[in-house]
Amino acid sequence: GAGVSQSPSNKVTEKGKDVELRCDPISGHTALYWYRQRLGQGLEFLIYFQGNSAPDKSGLPSDRFSAERTGESVSTLTIQRTQQEDSAVYLCASSAPGHDNSPLHFGNGTRLTVT
């Protein structure tokens, strides 16, 4: 079946512009996660959704970052007034409900470059 899908796969934007990154999780997965991976570094947690609510948004680096999820499905990560330090690969992952130790299933990521 289809895995986690992210779009666009690549995004180049000018500093100061807003960007929207999209994630389509695996159908039926109620948990959805956003991570950021800067070049040569590990995964940095941003936000996690259970259904349409976000019980943990502690990783969002500033108020320029926001995310929403609708219909317990698609999620959008929005970065306003982008800065060069926002350049990174943004990864989305989802996991199945009701299963202990359910692992994360990752998308291919969106590579964001802020010039």
Binding site: A31, Y35, G42, F45, Q50, G59, N101, P103, L104, H105
Partner: protein, 109 residues
């Protein structure tokens, strides 16, 4: 705060040699531990999880609560094992996964 450490950023071994990728965590309870792998030009994917006590692609990992470690081992490394490996911790169902910084394994011919 819960943390996952992977002390080696890069690990190089020769084909056929044993390999151990270290992972330590800080959490006083009973966490769920995972190893994820990212091969070149592929998405991050689950390799194995401690609860399953399984061997995947010849890799095993044992949770040592006394040492708070979950090291990944393989007795004979293969060139196709070259990849980026991440250790991850989840506190309980539905909560955030905390990832280590990753170890790049390079298996030399």
């Amino acid at each position: 705060a819960q943390r996952v450490t992977q002390p080696e950023k890069l690990l190089s071994v020769f084909k056929g040699a044993p390999v151990e990728l270290k992972c330590n965590y800080s959490y006083s309870g009973s966490p769920e531990l995972f190893w994820y792998v990212q091969y070149s030009r592929q998405r991050l994917q689950l390799l194995l999880r401690h609860i399953s006590r399984e061997s995947i692609k010849g890799f095993t990992a044992d949770l040592n609560k006394g040492e708070t470690s979950f090291h990944l081992k393989k007795p004979f490394a293969q060139e196709e094992d070259s990849a980026m490996y991440y250790c991850a911790l989840r506190l309980s169902y539905g909560q955030n996964f905390v990832f280590g910084p990753g170890t790049r394994l390079s298996v030399l011919p």
